[in-house]
């Protein structure tokens, strides 16, 4: 491409590493692992961007962040400008810069990645957002005059928070109902402090409150009130963003023994309830010496790294396929390895063994080998007969997936769900089979990503605005 040929010298700057806590230190604390770019490193990295006329990065971004524009602002030292550019399309840049799988999105399609290393877009995004927040430079944008219409959002995860922000700016009276005592969804109860400091999520929720969003915690919709009750109270539209929060167990013998957790429970105790600070905080958690985590996704990596920080001497990942098939982000696998996690790949648990008090003492596993590719294109694992062996453990965390929680669908007559219990929507608008009810995020797609949940919230905001005010944005 022409622009590459005209600015060849810019490619010579290598992709800038982000400083990190040393693995030996960080397994002893819950502080964030990567420390962020200092300004001069951010400028250096930003200068690597060759400002493509047809930027590949933007195509890879589910919410069309104007990537070259914010990077150019960083390169010019205009960090606050960069933060504002980001926020025009992505209301949670400090979160996304940390947890988005950039290697599968913008950085995957970055032109520089074709020959060498892509621009570190995620690190730059994080840098700009942190810079703005750390300096207290977050400004509250002008909000449209109240238009007298009320929208209820169920669930304060990334999808619900995004739509709340978008609609309040358009003049809607927005109330978010959240089941737990704290807003944030998976960002607050699931993803650990060492990957996403809770202060960042709290700052984002505060920002929305300052914009005028009302957040009602401890409100389990379906129990305290139903969607029909909300309409009766005068809401004009409802957005369902309750996530895919129900844990999946494997249904193998012994799985209910003491010491065996779902990843949701283990992470909720540690993150939401701050059990890692017990007894300063009241909620206890088992600090196992030998901990096995079942699964190979991000949730499994978060659990196993939590186990190490809680003092595990041996922390295992037990995963039935090989490393290539592991759905976790490469960065997380890499961090887990650095920290000393032991990977038992092509291994599947078949039974738990326990002592007389019903406490787990061992996990009986079977070796697996990869067979033919399955529907998902991944080679499906098949057990090797007679290859069973036992690993001694005192704590197990089952991280093999989540599914839809039925509380809202089951209390909303006429709201159609699919076979797995996820809400069926019409295209990208998030419209459901019930008039005035929209849905998005994990409760529609099944477990996905923060940015996709946010994208769904943004699209539904446009659809609701269109339906209630007859206005098309964009």
């Amino acid at each position: 491409m022409a622009e590459i040929a005209t600015k060849p010298k810019k490619e010579k700057i290598p992709r800038q590493a982000m400083p990190e806590q040393d693995p030996g230190d960080r397994v002893k604390n819950f502080d964030e692992v990567p420390c962020g770019y200092p300004p001069e490193t951010a400028i250096l990295e930003a200068k690597r961007c060759i400002q493509c006329k047809k930027p590949g990065c933007v195509e890879g971004c589910p919410v069309d962040v104007r990537i070259p524009e914010f990077i150019l602002q960083i390169a010019a030292g205009n960090f606050l400008g960069a933060a504002r550019t980001l926020k025009e399309t992505n209301c949670l840049p400090a979160v996304c810069g940390r947890v988005c799988p950039q290697e599968d999105q913008c950085e995957k399609t970055c032109i520089l990645g074709k020959k060498g290393e892509p621009v570190a877009i995620g690190r730059l995004e994080r840098f700009a957002a942190d810079y703005e927040r750390d300096r207290g430079a977050v400004t509250i944008p002008a909000v449209a005059a109240p238009n007298g219409k009320k929208v209820a959002v169920i669930g304060a995860g990334p999808s619900g928070l995004t739509i709340a922000g978008d609609l309040v700016k358009l003049g809607y009276d927005v109330t978010v109902f959240e089941a737990l005592h704290k807003a944030g969804g998976v960002l607050i109860y699931g993803i650990p402090e060492f990957r996403l400091p809770k202060a960042i999520v709290e700052a984002e929720v505060d920002y929305l409150k300052q914009l005028g969003v009302k957040v009602v915690t401890n409100a389990v919709v379906g129990r305290l009130k139903t969607i029909d009750d909300l309409f009766a109270e005068g809401f004009d539209a409802v957005y369902v963003a309750v996530g895919a929060g129900a844990p999946v167990f494997m249904d193998i013998p012994g799985e209910n023994m003491s010491g065996i957790y779902s990843a949701n429970e283990y992470l909720t105790r540690s993150n939401l309830m701050k059990a890692y600070r017990f007894p300063e905080y009241d909620t206890p958690i088992v600090r196992g010496k030998n901990v096995a985590v079942i699964g190979g996704g991000n949730v499994a990596m978060d659990s196993v790294r939590t186990a190490l920080r809680l003092g595990a001497e041996n922390a295992y990942i037990i995963y039935r396929r090989s490393e290539v098939e592991m759905p976790a982000r490469k960065e997380e696998v890499h961090h887990a390895k650095e920290e000393g996690v032991q990977f038992l790949l092509l291994t599947n648990p078949v039974e738990y063994l326990g002592d007389k008090d019903g406490w787990v003492t061992g996990v009986k596993c079977i070796r697996m080998e990869l067979g033919e590719p399955d529907a998902s294109g991944r080679r499906s694992p098949v057990p090797v007969p007679g290859s069973e062996f036992v690993i001694d453990v005192d704590t197990v965390v089952v991280a093999v997936g989540t599914m839809a929680n039925p509380i809202v669908p089951s209390t909303t007559p006429g709201l159609e769900t699919n076979r797995k219990g996820y809400i069926i929507t019409k295209g990208e608008s998030g419209e459901t089979s019930r008039r005035g009810v929209y849905a998005g995020g994990d409760i529609v797609t099944g477990s996905a990503t923060v940015i996709l949940a946010m994208g769904a919230g943004r699209k539904a905001a446009q659809a609701i605005h269109q339906a209630l005010s007859g206005v098309t944005t964009e």
Binding site: N218, G245, M257, M273, P279, N405
Partner: protein, 278 residues
């Protein structure tokens, strides 16, 4: 934030409180519970909604002081706030006219069974209630239970009041005496519920128990509260809290309730020393 409207000690270790929670008060049905979190550092604990007053907007809870959180709550007074109150949670009791129903409450379980007893009587059942405790001073809600039942029998383990013996002995006598019993509700300590379920099983009397599994979110998100019923894993918070007593694996429940014994002890100890020392 919910404020405490009134507080009363029912016995040396059992406290009754009315808490302002108007929406919950209007919506709750017999058999449902709330999750409370006292303060920022607090644990989330489940407590049954014993009664509610739609006009005043209050719910009543009755709890036994067994550890850090319940001790912390017992130290609060009218006018103080509880940071988080979430509910109503769990499935309401299925109230029908079964005929002759026996409601059995042990210890603080009497508080849990009281709203169910009341609802069953209102639905036209003939209700015989049996309430028990270790000793006389620990018997709670005798008057209320008496008013909510056609007949009330009180039992104490040490014989200091009412019938000398366990509530299960009283039930056995009723059965032996030829009483026709259509339905039994039993709520109390795990060994008591297990004993009642074992007792009624051979007679084929349907027995409903309410399980007190350890909970965190109480919305079906974590699985902390899982129990085994008829060989199937169920979540107490969303599938229960009431289950068919003849199908419950009580030993598993008892084991899981002991999961944090050591840490609970540590927490309680720390609390007691703190509140005496400072």
């Amino acid at each position: 934030m919910s404020s405490i409207v009134s507080k009363e000690n029912l016995s040396e270790s059992v406290v009754r409180m009315d808490i302002l929670a108007p929406e919950i008060a209007r919506k709750r049905k017999a058999g449902q519970f709330v999750i409370l979190k006292v303060n920022e550092q607090g644990e989330r604990i489940p407590l049954t909604i014993v009664e509610s007053d739609g006009e005043q907007g209050t719910i009543t809870i009755i709890f036994q002081i067994v550890g850090k959180t319940t001790a912390l709550m017992a130290a609060l007074n009218a006018g103080d706030d509880i940071q988080d109150v979430q509910g109503p949670l769990g499935n309401p009791t299925e109230i029908e006219n079964f005929g002759h129903v026996v409601c059995i409450g042990g210890g603080v379980g009497v508080g849990v069974i009281y709203p169910i007893t009341k609802a069953l009587k209102e639905a036209g059942n003939r209700v015989t209630s049996i309430i028990g405790a270790r000793t006389k001073s620990l018997i709670i809600l005798e008057e209320e239970m008496s008013a909510a039942s056609n007949e009330l029998i009180v039992a104490t383990d040490d014989g200091s009041y009412g019938v000398h013996g366990f509530v299960s002995n009283v039930l056995q006598k009723l059965i032996d005496g030829g009483e026709k019993i259509d339905h039994v509700y039993a709520i109390g300590p795990v060994p008591m519920m297990k004993a009642i379920a074992n007792l009624t099983r051979p007679y084929g009397i349907k027995t409903i128990v309410s399980l007190n599994a350890i909970m965190v979110d109480a919305t079906g998100m974590c699985g902390a509260c899982r129990v085994s019923v008829a060989g199937k894993t169920e979540f107490t918070c969303v599938d229960g809290p009431e289950f068919d007593g003849h199908q419950v694996d009580f030993d598993l429940l008892a084991n899981r309730l002991r999961m944090y014994c050591e840490q609970e002890g540590q927490s309680y100890e720390r609390h007691r020393c703190g509140s005496q020392g400072n």
